[in-house]
Symmetry: D2
């Protein structure tokens, strides 16, 4: 080293402290093993655990999901009456209340089948979705969405009546079919509202009096569509509430808008206060709370905010491609939610920086669908 300029040599060849005991070397898949060939989802996840970058985050997400699913507390018989409000397994033991959030585009994509699998088998306990994540589920029961390209030209698509969602298109006729399906249902809902108003008079707006909310509206959609391919059908069937506070922000909103003309002088009312009480109460009642949030925006914030009511979730998995530099909630890391008390300081949590469809099939296959 004597030939090297001191300044540079000292900087470049500085001695390091010993590596702390328990430090984990980075390594990958051992291709000499037979399970490295056309691996199963679990084999892949095992091979990604110490890979670093986002591969290890994917494995961490799987581990967290397994941990939140596996947790069990006391048996219901050991609890006081007023403590019996959270989630229990089929044998009566306390388990984690899992909040699943997803954005509209995931329902437009084939991930809808994965999301349906989760609710069909009661693997999650509440859902928060954006408006498109509600209506597109119903519309897909009426007619399909098609593959397209990100670069398909907007003006040409408009001429043909093809509405683009990323690299997919929905023919406008699908929305016409949806309108036909919705109109009689809205008529019926209004009738029920009018009946309640007539029956309850000045108490018609009070707590406990039947009143339309986004979650009740959505539950009704799931009931009426009566179709096993639907996420909402299974949510209805399995009593999994679906929250969507901005339910009017999409095609359902268009239909409700049109319906105001037909309904006049009556008008459907959809109240968002009762729903905030409902989701917050679920959070407060949960014995343990786990978040699985696919995408950003409203659905991410809404679950986090609900979990603040219990001073933080116990497990959190974010999967999205947002970034924190714009100070958006969409891109915020779990650590920002910790500062708010939305995730507990000691809760195991991870953010997988990935578009959801790339990685969620693998994660589900290695966890919820591993058996």
């Amino acid at each position: 080293m004597s030939d090297i300029p001191n300044l540079a040599g000292d900087a470049v060849l500085m001695k390091s402290d010993p590596v702390p005991e328990g430090s984990l070397p980075v390594f990958g898949i051992d291709y000499s093993k037979p399970e490295s060939r056309n691996s199963t989802a679990r084999d892949l996840i095992d091979g990604m655990r110490y890979m670093g970058i986002q591969a290890s985050s994917v494995a961490e997400a799987c581990d967290i999901i397994e941990e939140m699913r596996a947790w069990r507390g006391k048996h219901i018989s050991e609890l006081e009456e007023h403590e019996r409000k959270g989630t229990f397994d089929e044998e009566g033991y306390q388990k984690t209340t899992i909040f699943l959030g997803y954005t509209s585009n995931l329902i437009s994509s084939g991930l809808r089948d994965t999301l349906r699998f989760l609710v069909q088998h009661k693997m999650v306990d509440a859902i928060v979705a954006s408006a498109g994540g509600i209506e597109e589920d119903i519309i897909k029961c009426l007619a399909p969405t098609y593959m397209s390209e990100f670069a398909a030209k907007g003006s040409e698509l408009r001429e043909k009546g093809m509405n683009r969602i990323g690299n997919m298109v929905v023919p406008n006729d699908n929305y016409c079919k949806f309108e036909e399906w919705m109109v009689p249902l809205l008529d019926k809902m209004l009738e029920e509202q009018n009946d309640n108003a007539a029956k309850n008079g000045k108490d018609a707006l009070d707590a406990g009096t039947p009143f339309w909310t986004p979650s009740k509206f959505i539950d009704r959609l799931g009931k009426e569509i009566n179709n096993e391919t639907s996420v909402l059908y299974w949510c209805h069937k399995n009593k999994i509430p679906v929250f969507s506070p901005a339910l009017t922000d999409g095609s359902i909103g268009d239909m409700l808008f049109f319906h105001t003309f037909k309904a006049s002088p009556h008008q459907l009312r959809i109240d968002i206060v009762e729903d905030i009480r409902k989701i917050n109460t679920m959070s407060m009642n949960s014995f343990k709370a786990g978040m699985i949030i696919l995408g950003g925006g409203l659905i991410k914030h809404h679950i986090c905010n609900a979990c603040l009511m219990r001073n933080g979730a116990d497990w959190a998995v974010y999967i999205n491609s947002g970034q924190e530099f714009d100070a958006s909630d969409a891109g915020a890391r779990p650590d920002e939610a910790i500062s708010w008390g939305k995730i507990k300081a000691d809760a195991r949590n991870v953010k997988v920086y990935s578009e959801v469809s790339v990685v969620f099939p693998l994660i589900v296959s290695a966890t919820f669908a591993s058996k």
Copy 2:
């Protein structure tokens, strides 16, 4: 060229067609001119117009904003009664209805002052904001938000009661102050609701009967805060409606939740159907419609969807850092909205790929605040 292998030579040195007439060379700022020194906003924009990459998009955004602001149609006296529903200038000429959307983080940031400037001077006609974009405006009238760092540790912040939003923090006491301010107001609102219910009986839910909606709730906040630093104050004062369909998704939602316990057996109801009618009607009544959308998610989709009701906006400026590859509406280019009829096929439009605070002060200075 004879020495060059044909295959490579033909590929690399292929002749090109003549450049089409009217092609615009890329060029930048001429630093020999005095206005290149500590330039004004307009000088900068002029220098960026043919710079390419996103610099030219910034200039295009300014040009579009100026165009939408400058448009004038007929005088109100030339219109039939039923046509007199859109936006007019002070002299009675038709002008563009400008929809401004922004996300919560922008109100947390110092851009709030810029947004207030726009509404104070009636430069926009309707606002769509996320819930945080409502409440943080009020809270800032009660106590300030502070500078922090993206890397500030969540668990340490939580211990101190400091809630992080990107590189800013809001002390939790600010929310306590907000609660104190809100409780009597919510009591008053409930009282008004009860009065209406009592007065209107079974018609209490009908169209035309007074009923709380997010936009009416927000207008009331603006009125009550009575503070010239507030965006909502000026919106109230200048009759600029502010839409926020998921109004319960934040601190206001927390307060409403708490209030349900206090109010029992009564309960405030906030209806989102009346608001979708209101924003869609504004869109249909507009003579020309312009969009300025800062950020993504709900606020972006909500303005676009409203503009579908008039078969598309006439001008559109998106500023955000979302990307289309995840098929989210947040990241979708204007061309996707064209496929839906949310922007007209021939409408001048641009997406500036930038975090908003980096570029919006410059844009506003060169347009709305140029004089």
Copy 3:
């Protein structure tokens, strides 16, 4: 529909053209099938093919890789002597020349084992890597890289001599070990250079005279490390050239810099002209060319530029998280490369918008490692 305002109704409920024949509906995984449980890599890829968003791009990447691997042309015995310069399979049939590019961080991560698997089994024909992608492979033979966190504080790490690469750290001692390993080798290389200079005199710089280039330097590293865990070892063994034009941009550069003091008045020379001839010649000689490019920057452009010499690659797979809005080559879509003649206009190509480690293990498992 008579109640709906015409303007809105016509826009929202516009009739669409019939869906073109052959349109592909979006769908996902059928969880009623047994293979949906802890699926194999191929099952997952099959389930993602019509999922839309990036899931379908992942499946497309697999299909393209399988197609480029499967292609076979004539037998070598059918070719003229001067045509026998490209890549042949073991039985003598023409096959695709596959160019694999990767960035430094992937070698730092556990993906190194996956990359080694590919070269160990001669599944690719040339590599382009950034400088760190060379040296970190050797350094990992001397001492491990460790798992860390993105949020680990720089000043604290520097005090301990821990160099962070994303969520991994390399102890500085590893670079000291690398220096010890490199010095005698650089001495030897200089000696060989001096011998050649002495032997060839004024012709020492001519074509054909032995001269150090990045690819020859790298080949020597692979030979000397003599370690089966190394990517470069197998590249040497299997005669897979590794290109890295900016070889000095990292620890090897530090060592070369230090060595200039020791070597004075002699000095190693590493020529980049001979290497550009080498890679371009490989491209021109290829019967078919396929690109698999993991990450962006230099390595992406270098492979694309080489493929311009044959008027475009026949297949292209990009995997990266870059975006086009900044007009960088890193973020450019394959369609930009088509405009340059770097990918053929009719070549099957895809860009998977994903961080590489999230998705490449799955892709390799379903393709190269499927049997």
Copy 4:
């Protein structure tokens, strides 16, 4: 508060610690002041300083640039002979050595004029650029680059010979013109190399013997183009070295490749070892070192690595849109460079998360071009 459930109330309305003294409130532009109208660059920067998100990062970048420019040390007459190697101002005082890095796309854009302004006025001391950042500067002296669109179709552009770079195009004829300009120059360079080889014989490769390196090759381009619009012309004129270790990765590489056929049996040699010594020596000799790095990839790492030789830069400004989640050097925050000793632990530093062209004109106007 008595009505609020304790669990939620305690979490939501938790008391916070007093805000530490000296905490800076977030605020924005005061539009009541005249300088808020069509503001100057400095006015805008002043208004962005406490705005939060990236606006405050932009202001911080300006402050850091001003600080690195303003620093002065001792007068040269106070220094020993061997200490007189760094950068001095015109009056003989020590000043900061500023390393400027930029990627190819910026030279393709109109930012080239801004970069030229900086070197014309000797405002920076060394440049690191990617290969395209060299050749496109020369090519623009021969024929212009044109505005285009990100969505322009690749196959149609290829047919016309239009090469797309983001939203710009370069006609292929420009490269033909470049080839015509380069061939005689390469002949001349080879002649000089041959002369040196003949003259120096077996010592032709030794340190101190004239030998082509990227920086010398680039300096010659700047000299020969002799055009005041060129960045390289002014670098040559003002003795600002330009480093580009992967100089062959682009059109110059194509020309060098072609030239190997013409030159045979001779061949130009371009050595990258001498250049790594040159840039590292500049770094070691600098009294203070400042980095301004526009974009990511090679150019970012190369400047950082050089600054390791002096145990870290004293000021660092990164402007790019890369993200850290992929563990790339391109997206790494300054804090990662601190762990390596590439930026000093106490150095003032900032990363502006922005595409460069959006923000660099404003930054330059408020700093380098403020007077």
